[in-house]
Symmetry: C2
Amino acid sequence: MRPKDLEKEEAIRAIALKIIAEEGLENLSMQKLAKEANISPRTIYIKYENKEDLLIKLFIDEVLGTYEKAVLEGFDEAMDFETGVRKMWLNTFRYFKSNRQAYVLMQYGKSSPLLNKAFKERNIKEGQFFAPVHRFLKQNAKARIIKNFPNEVHRALIFSPLLDLINEYFEYKDRPKQIITEKVILECCEAIIKGIKL
Amino acid sequence: MRPKDLEKEEAIRAIALKIIAEEGLENLSMQKLAKEANISPRTIYIKYENKEDLLIKLFIDEVLGTYEKAVLEGFDEAMDFETGVRKMWLNTFRYFKSNRQAYVLMQYGKSSPLLNKAFKERNIKEGQFFAPVHRFLKQNAKARIIKNFPNEVHRALIFSPLLDLINEYFEYKDRPKQIITEKVILECCEAIIKGIKL
DNA sequence: TTTTTAAGTAAACAAACGTTTACTTACTTA
DNA sequence: TAAGTAAGTAAACGTTTGTTTACTTAAAAA
């Protein structure tokens, strides 16, 4: 049997992400994707059921899965609060800095009903994404180190400013002066920690 | 001359927002929109140049323009920092609470290259959106009331957690218990203020 | 009341869409 | 080395896309 060409599989994913980041999710078509990857449209259907399946797998596995790994690298839920948050902030910043395409699709995941639904279903079926982070926050709330908010609120307070700052980083990428440096990120991290601590 | 039917114009906008919020920007088509609005596709082209023009005007005028008005209602850039931020947080929360469709399209604006570009061009052509807020932040930084970050950083720190919390509000809207109440929003606002103040 | 004119419609356009059919290629295994 | 088989291709399927053409409607202006 002829084996699957992994290079082609990778090309499909890479070029799909590229089109989404450069032209938008609403302008990704199977034919355009096939053409840019120099393959037949049929080939995509060997690897993915249909367009929705491709988008969902890109979003869940390629984007969120890879991001989860990156955030948790060197993180331990037993770390003290400040160290843990700083670690995750730096991991997130460094990961997305060199993965803008993943960042864009992740952002689309917050708007697109299809990706939203897929995210919820995946959390139910295979356990929550970022589970160690959830436990970390719960522990610290229980230990009265941080304010006693629901986990979703903690997540919003701690991580959404960071994701917004990463967007600003991309805005300044091709300009003479980058204002979002690692130093600024760490200063912002301190501000967030100060705000959330009891 | 036969006058433009304003009800039809309003229907186009309302139903476009509805489709975007329920099925996603990537599933909005002119024919679907016309059908659901009970008009001919041609009628849309009397009021808008093309699909992109419709999307951009929806995003800039209907969503951002209306949101800007709502945020600034009762806000004065001369307010002291805490009062001003609290005012804007409550205005934002109350506005989007009853305008989920506007919220969804605003979120799409952070991903979609088309809307992103339109936003930047509009800021250059007609002056920045949320200009009073920018001046408010600059003043407070200059007066050493808050940390001396670039304005974009202040904006990320202060407003992105709020927008994320509004998303959580919608997630809990049809569940037995709403966790994102006005009380929680105000507590989060205090946390943010505490973090950013010098 | 009649004329004028833009608003609005129904139907259609070519192009692009997601997907499939019919066929060829290339690698495994017997 | 030959047979078997899934991977891969080129071309096409029927639909839907954004947009336009040709026509009708309705209200302001004369």
